[in-house]
Subunit: 336 residues, 2 copies
DNA sequence: CGGCGAAGTTACAGCGCTGTAGAAGAGGTG
DNA sequence: CACCTCTTCTACAGCGCTGTAACTTCGCCG
């Protein structure tokens, strides 16, 4: 049997479709008696408005796409959670799109062959270049997240990774560490994120008067716990010595903890370790991780704000905003 | 300026709208010359079909809702990833709905006031009762995931948690453990999942001839690393002794590792620990975790299969399927 | 007591697309 | 060459809803 439609309710109540529509959406200018009559008909027929019909008529879908590499990476899970909450508080629902960090998938997101499905897109690019992003068709508003460079024409939210890396490196230097390694940038050319963290690391070393020793830069085959553990293990086994490791992210830090533990090296006594992202787990590793925590709520709220403004018709140039961060000092790299 | 519509392309190419539609969807019975002519018009005008219009006309949206408590919990992130991949291989896209484990949110999912938005729902319920689930309006196909009891009328996929808990408990007993504790069921009345794992734990003890000591049942205030660490620490500090801990999930196990480490207890030498879910992290904790791994791909594929069958019109009774699991034996509870 | 504005309600034309039925054209047969 | 069968294409009516404009009441003022 076909579902009851607005029309059926209207007929049943003996009123126009539009009046039923007004009752459903609690529009003003509907008399109390009419509201009751229509509501009765709605209840009797068990009417539920059809989302698609409305969406077609209004042109708004109430849907946002959130495109990120992989929700299994804890940072992105946190992001998905924050965006999802921020979206639903504004009446939007979130379509989860995993790009797997692949160029094709990212391209598919920004120039989807189908239009009109989502009102806006929140994209955390990892492969697309600025130029390519800039050339995307302006059909749907896009907010960019993350550390990559963003075109002037698009909204962008990021954390000042250079500043954060400088801070965390300085923190290690101030607590007396002298040979501070960096672990976890991609072996096959660092991502924009890794690059910024490396720059900040370098700046932190300079500010504290330490020399940069490129031997202390330990790349990994991929962004994963295993790759980080393997890479650090190999470096140690080859005789590389250090008294601190700035890790590209918490996953790498967890890999580092594992590799150090296996070799009987104490953290933080022999080697201090820092992570990045403040994933839930980082408070519970042994030792717990000193890490950089981005203001995730500000990130999600900011993205939603910019996106809703664009959806609302704002046409200005791209806004490039930074959200805050803080160091969470825990056991793996305590204060001096 | 308004977007170009099917109609515009049709006019531009001097053909009917339907022909353009046929070209767009690569329907058969379109001559080659016509296809070229229409394609040219499409390219010239930069036409992109509007998803909503089609959805209204066909009645299918190509959207599925995935409702789960919280993507930040690693198990659910893995699930979201698997479902998302399985869905996109079938041409569906996934709407992420977080219920926060709250009854209201779960109810809102199954009896959403808006119809027609999604073609189907995959729901991992945590609070709703069988009866309540059964009474939901039959507007949209639903597949249930997880260990809760499911109504006969609805499709359901689960892992045999009792069998798995029996296996992992037996594993501990076989490796010589005698005082095996259970950590992590909810203090305020265990969830269906915890209940089954407890039952399996009990059965595993029985099969190996160990007595059940209810003092070894250690509930936690919530399902989290912190709560588990706190609960186990408190139990140890009160003098409770054990030589193994079956944890409700990997998060609890990580909390346990932490609590044991702080007290100088060796894992697995003094106390063996097992987890559940085989989250990515569990291979990299120190020691790495012996854990139960559900066949996540089978779970996602199975859910999609059942859902697409329902969407395709299957009207039979609910199918209740089990997916496999295996023990991943790692350092925290090695083979005897 | 006619006239006027506001409140409440209705009719109708789309939003952009597809399914159906059938027209037009191409090709083959007796 | 009339007739029939395919194939290709078109016209049109929705899918379920909302925005707009117009219409009807009604209370109230001069």
């Amino acid at each position: 049997m076909p579902r009851t439609r607005l029309q059926d309710v209207a007929k049943h109540a003996g009123v126009s479709m539009k009046t039923v529509s007004n009752v459903v959406h609690a529009h003003p200018h509907v008399s109390e008696s009419m509201r009751e009559r229509v509501q009765l008909a709605i209840d009797e027929l068990g009417y539920r408005p059809n989302a698609i019909g409305r969406r077609l008529a209004t042109g708004r879908t109430g849907l946002l796409a959130l495109a990120l590499p992989d929700v299994r990476i804890p940072y992105f899970a946190e992001l998905a959670n924050a965006v999802s909450l921020a979206a639903s508080s504004r009446g939007y629902r979130v379509l989860l799109e995993q790009t797997g960090g692949s160029l094709e998938e990212e391209r598919a997101i920004v120039s989807s062959s189908e239009a009109g499905l989502v009102d806006g897109v929140i994209l955390q690019p990892s492969m697309m270049s600025v130029m390519e992003l800039a050339q995307h068709r302006e059909d749907v508003p896009v907010v960019l997240l993350g550390e990559g460079a963003a075109p002037l024409t698009m909204d962008h939210l990021s954390v000042d990774n250079i500043a954060a890396a400088t801070r965390i490196t300085s923190h290690l230097a101030q607590s007396g560490r002298r040979r501070i390694a960096f672990l976890g940038h991609e072996a096959g050319g660092p991502s924009a994120t890794s690059r910024q963290r490396l720059l900040g690391y370098q700046q932190g070393l300079e500010e504290s008067g330490s020399a940069l020793d490129t031997a202390l830069l330990i790349p990994t085959a991929s962004v994963s716990v295993r790759a980080a553990a393997d890479a650090l293990a190999a470096a140690l086994d080859e005789g590389l010595r250090m008294d601190a490791v700035v890790c590209r992210d918490d996953l790498a830090a967890i890999g580092a903890l594992r590799a150090l533990h296996e070799r009987g090296l104490g953290v933080p006594d022999d080697i201090a370790v820092t992570g990045w992202d403040d994933i839930a787990m980082s408070a519970f590793t042994s030792p717990s991780l000193t890490t950089v925590a981005a203001d995730m709520d500000a990130l999600a709220e900011g993205a939603l704000d910019m996106l809703t403004e664009r959806i609302g018709g704002y046409e200005g140039l791209g806004r490039h905003r930074r959200v805050g961060f803080e160091l969470r000092i825990r056991e793996s790299a305590p204060r001096a």
